[in-house]
Structure formats: C-alpha cells, structure tokens
Symmetry: C2
DNA sequence: TATTGTTATACTCTATAACTATA
DNA sequence: TATAGTTATAGAGTATAACAATA
C-alpha cells in the first residue's frame, strides 16, 4: 500500500469543488425531475439510457452495468417504471434468460417533456457563469478523468467485471 | 418562463462528464469510508464540517444548512454519530433552544484515520490522470460554478433561506 | 458451472408534519 | 410569532443472499 502523500491545497480545492458542484447540481436537477415528471434521478437515467440506442430494447444487466446498480435494484426500478407505463419488458429471442427493456411511446414522451426543463436547470445552474472556453476545458478535463476512472480497477482487485457510468 | 434553447453538444458532454465523474468518485469514496471507518458519506461530511472550525462546536441548524439536510435528517445522523461516540451534543449558553455539536477526541481520531485512505482514493481516481494545470483549471472553473450556484435562488423563488454545500 | 434475473428481507436514509421549548 | 430541535411515521431506495431457469 503506497504512502498517502497529503494533497496540495489546490488539489483538495478542486476535489471539494467537484463534489459540491456535483451534489448541488444533482439536487437541483432531482427537484425538477420530481416536480415535472415524478421521476427520481436514477429513473431519469434509466430512461435516458434506454432512449440512447435510438433503436430498441436493451438487456437488464447491460443497463445495470451502465448505472452502477445492483441487479436487484434495477429490477425494482424497472418494475416501478413498467407499472407507470414508461418502459416495457420483453424476452430476448437469442437468450431465454435475458429480459429486454425498452421505452414505451409514453416513456419517450415523458422523457422529451422532462428534458426541456432539465436542460434549463443545467443551463441556469451550471452553464450560465461559464464561457465557451470554460465549458470546453471542463469537458476535456473531466472527459479524461472519466476515461481514467472507467479503466481503473476497483481497489479490491476483484475479478468481477463492473464497468460503470452515471449517465 | 424562458424558452429552452437546446444545449450544444459540448455543453451536454461537459454536463454528463461532470455527473458521471461526480457519481463515480462518490461511489469509490463511499466504499472506502464504509470499509475503513463504517461511515456513510454524509456522516463523513458532518465530521469534516465539525472539524473545520478547528475551534469548537457548531449549531445543529448551521450544520444542516451547510449540508442540504432537513433538520430531522440531521437529528437522525447526529444521533447515530453520538451513539458511536464520535460527536457530542451540548446545550448553548447563549440560546437555550440551540444544541451545539462537536467532535469528540474519538471522532477526530477516526476522521484522521479515514482521511488518509480518503486522500488516496481521490488521488488515484481523480488526480492521477491530471496535470497540475488541469487541476488548477478544474478548481477555477468549478469554483466559479459553485459561487454561482450558491447565489442562484431556487427556481421556486421561495422566501426561505437555504444556503447549501456538499462538503 | 456460469449467467440472467427475481424474490425476500433487512437496513439506511430522507422528508413531512406535529410537537415542545425557548426567543 | 418565529425559531431550534425532536419525534413519529411513512416511504423510497439499496444491497445481500437464496433461488429458478437457461446457457
């Protein structure tokens, strides 16, 4: 185990700013999603992931992997979303074990409707005070961090595969 | 209500990267805190806030304001931390209604011990792939965003004061 | 045997509202 | 009246482990 070199003040400041901004932004966005769509943030993320392929349904496990979720947790969330009529479950023709999930038309309508306000919140809280250079720089630096995080094995070098994502 | 100008791809990318990095980092850090200190992230944040003053105890409400928490939620968390012996509650000499909270020596010891591993995780997941210029840029941009967020009134321009923070 | 997904279960956390007491 | 904090309560979400079905 390597020795812990204490962080420099600037490093600590960047870390704290990142966590605080992320937390505040998530808070703001969660409220908007709750108010305008009755959605939790994770539910929104699930709908967003399902809307991505533009084509069709995705496997449960793949969705869970994208979103850090335990599979039982995803089962729970999908059940909520299916009960509300926003997603549909179908069985896979290829693999009888798999369950495919897809957005229903209602789900897509909801996502579209909610996304408008969502974008407004992001604009207002995150983007308004930034120049386009700032945004480019932020995207560049955080993009590299994201790529790095995805490649770093968990500390308990477990032989389990678990790629992650948070939207 | 202003019309929602759709975000440019770069803006969207920065937003997604921010949320994903924040989420992944919080996940990594939570696991470390749980493993090495039996602490949730919020509990860690509370201890960190209490350790800040360097001097002494702080009022319940002030801590809650710093951390987005409802007051009942903070009462719950403080009860947990007090039962574990990491914080102590005392009554304020100035205001009989107030309850002051402070770190116990055990709490400070725990925080110091946990902080070492914490810093390692931050180093490994966030800082390793970044140059010092990157870190400076990140801290600068996010610092401005944080300042902006703290000043933006909630959308439901409620006359409630609720300054926020996430560590 | 390994993988997919569900279920049962138990736990943590959160917020709302009603309440007490001080200011 | 307004503020500080607690309590009761109820709900959302999570993860673990045991399980069934399929590969």
């Amino acid at each position: 185990m390597p020795d812990a070199a204490p962080l420099e003040p600037g490093q600590l400041a960047a870390y704290f700013a990142l966590m605080e901004v992320g937390g505040l932004l998530q808070h703001a966005v969660e409220q908007q999603l709750r108010d305008e769509g009755g959605l939790s943030y994770i539910q929104f993320q699930i709908l967003a992931v399902l809307s991505e392929g533009a084509d069709g349904p995705q496997r449960m496990t793949d969705v869970a992997d994208r979103l850090v979720h335990s599979r039982s947790g995803l089962t729970y969330q999908i059940a909520q979303l299916a009960e509300a009529g926003w997603v549909a479950k179908t069985s896979s023709p290829d693999d009888e074990r798999s369950v495919m999930v897809s957005l229903t038309p209602e789900g897509r309508t909801l996502l579209d409707r909610v996304m408008a306000g969502h974008v407004q919140v992001v604009q207002r809280f995150l983007l308004d005070p930034l120049s386009s250079e700032d945004v480019a720089s932020l995207g560049d630096v955080l993009g590299r961090v994201r790529a790095h995080m995805r490649s770093v094995p968990p500390r308990s070098a477990a032989p389990r595969r678990k790629p992650r994502s948070h939207l």
